[in-house]
């Protein structure tokens, strides 16, 4: 496969990528011929670390798998542990957990809308969507005490209650957000410069989605009607009616429509949750030592289906915790979407699956024994190390016009 002239390293550090991962693009002219994905830079050993701590402490570790979808991972983990311990959660706790989950989906989708605008060079959309995202961040800070890592979950329920005077504040915020989202839906569909940059790229046909196991809005934009909140209802989703937004554009434009549609659905869900918020306690007493057992729990994170597998051995520390983040399922499809596309499409296609690579890698690369901690690299040493590292990846800057081979191809 040497039909390429040179390699563009969209390397671990690149303005288009929010987190470290490497896409070595095999280019001829402006067209992408092939792609070599390398993940694993953001690997923090969370699964191994979970085995060394108690369940309560693990909750705060699992929550930091990802910055934006922290509540998804915490709820998924808490659900699995509660299933093993056989705890029957009070209804109010389930409703509050759903409320915070939907608020997080709003904040994540608004963030994505801004990043998509930035990737296609339209910073005004970034500035406006992120200004409106502040409304939902303030509501979350009001309810849970922190803007990002909410830590509202505990094993057996939630830690904070929603007081009666907070509800009108939430409803007012939701009304302004809904009116703003309608405006962004109009802009995203009618601004020809945006639609020109979004439609027709990152094509993923219906059966490719099934073959590659793609999840979340990326799958729903190709007409695959799969949403864990509907298929495998958890928390309070069984008692709330909402519809799953699908689209059949199969491209980045379709994903934008699906995410904006999901924003509107989230507002509907939040209004129902607040209307039907039952009275009662918010937690149930959870044992410190969880009995032997195993459980698989699934959660519809803003990026797709998130899966946690927990195995307990009767002590207060889990025996095994497995986290499969939605991005790990979606990243395989990026190589498929970028075949024979332009280099200019690469950032928006990668951003369209809304990658969260800190979720995907979730393990630590523990410092190897031979290098002691105190070695600080001087500037020239760092320069030679990076040149040597890149040449090992097959990207040789010394002479660009000679063809060079990429590993693994």
């Amino acid at each position: 496969m040497s039909n390429y002239d040179f390699i563009v390293p969209i390397g671990p550090q690149h303005p288009a990528l929010k987190e470290p991962e490497t896409f070595l693009l095999m280019m001829s002219g402006e067209k992408i011929k092939g792609m070599n994905v390398r993940l694993g830079y953001n690997h923090r050993g969370i699964e191994k670390a979970c085995e060394g701590q108690t369940y309560i402490q693990d909750l705060y570790l699992i929550e930091r798998v990802c910055g934006i979808c922290s509540h998804s991972h915490a709820s998924c983990f808490a659900q699995a542990v509660e299933e093993i311990a056989g705890l029957e959660l009070p209804k109010r706790a389930l409703y509050i957990r759903t409320l915070i989950g939907e608020l997080e989906r709003i904040h994540s989708h608004l963030l994505w809308l801004g990043v998509a605008g930035h990737e296609i060079g339209f910073d005004t959309l970034l500035m406006y969507t992120w200004r409106d995202r502040e409304i939902v961040m303030d509501i979350l800070a009001l309810l849970t005490g922190n803007r990002v890592n909410y830590s509202i979950n505990t094993i057996g329920g939630v830690r904070r209650d929603i007081t009666t005077e907070q509800i009108p504040q939430i409803l007012k915020a939701i009304d302004t957000l809904e009116e703003r989202t309608k405006y962004y839906a109009k802009v995203a569909t009618e601004d020809t410069t945006i639609t020109a940059r979004l439609s027709g790229i990152g094509l993923l046909s219906h059966d490719n989605v099934l073959k590659l196991g793609v999840v979340g809005p990326t799958a729903r934009a190709s007409g695959v009607k799969r949403d864990v909140r509907k298929d495998d209802p958890y928390a309070a989703y069984g008692e709330i009616d909402f519809n799953v937004i699908t689209d059949d554009h199969c491209d980045v434009y379709g994903r934008t429509l699906v995410r904006v549609g999901e924003l509107m659905e989230s507002y509907k869900i939040i209004r129902q949750v607040l209307a039907k918020l039952p009275e009662g306690p918010i937690t149930v007493k959870a044992p410190r030592k969880i009995p032997v057992g195993q459980a698989v729990s699934r959660y519809e994170a803003p990026r797709g289906e998130d899966l946690h597998y927990v195995k307990s051995n009767g002590t207060d520390k889990p025996d095994r915790v497995k986290v499969r983040a939605p991005t790990l399922a979606n990243v395989q499809a990026v190589a498929e979407m970028l075949k024979d596309r332009y280099l200019a499409d690469m950032p928006i296609v990668v951003a369209a699956i809304d990658p969260c690579f800190s979720c995907t890698d979730r393990m630590t690369s523990i410092s190897t024994a031979d290098k002691d901690d105190k070695t600080f690299m001087s500037w020239p040493k760092l320069r030679t190390y990076s040149i040597e590292w890149y040449s090992r990846q097959g990207v040789d800057f010394s002479d660009l016009n000679k063809k060079f081979k990429a590993p693994g191809i």
Binding site: L39, G40, K48, L210, G213, V296, R320, R324, M363
Partner: protein
């Protein structure tokens, strides 16, 4: 006869060896113990006949004397079948499922890197999730692996 029991019944009819090894833990969750020998037939039967068309994840476990591998299969409407197989610890070997699910190579590379279970038939490609400079045959997820564990202060006192 809910859907889950229906599936359990079909599995037991096809594979008599599984008769006491399948548990329907709760709605939409079926756990099954399958020996390594007849795993391929059960896997193929589940995908083709019982339309478990999506492989959501593959989990690797260190169970002391053996390595456990769980394949989480799910259908379009949310029912999940978790096939658990074991492979001996001294020379572990499982064969790949990338012929059914091309995207499964990331999950299988995790088994190779973190637990040291070689996967036969895995297509060549970058290693995941450990960095290239990771020392050879160090497998962090094994129980007997003594790396610098981030043990919190309370225990070390």
């Amino acid at each position: 006869m809910s859907n889950e029991d229906n599936i359990k019944q079909q599995l037991i009819e096809k594979f008599s060896a599984l008769s006491d090894k399948i548990i329907v833990k709760r709605a939409r969750r079926i756990f099954a113990e399958v020996s390594l020998a007849d795993f391929p037939q059960v896997f193929d039967f589940a995908i083709k006949k019982l339309n478990f068309s999506i492989l959501t994840a593959i989990t690797g476990l260190d169970e002391g004397t053996v390595f456990g591998v769980i394949y989480h299969l799910s259908t379009e409407n949310g029912i999940m079948l978790n096939l658990h197989t074991t492979t001996p610890r001294d020379n572990p070997l499982i064969n790949t499922v990338t012929n059914y699910f091309p995207a499964a190579d990331a999950y299988e590379r995790e088994l190779v890197d973190l637990l040291g279970i070689p996967v036969e038939g895995l297509p060549q490609g970058n290693r995941y999730p450990l960095p290239d400079s990771w020392p050879a045959n160090q497998y962090p997820l094994r129980k007997d692996w003594k790396g610098q564990m981030p043990v919190n202060k309370e225990e070390s006192k």
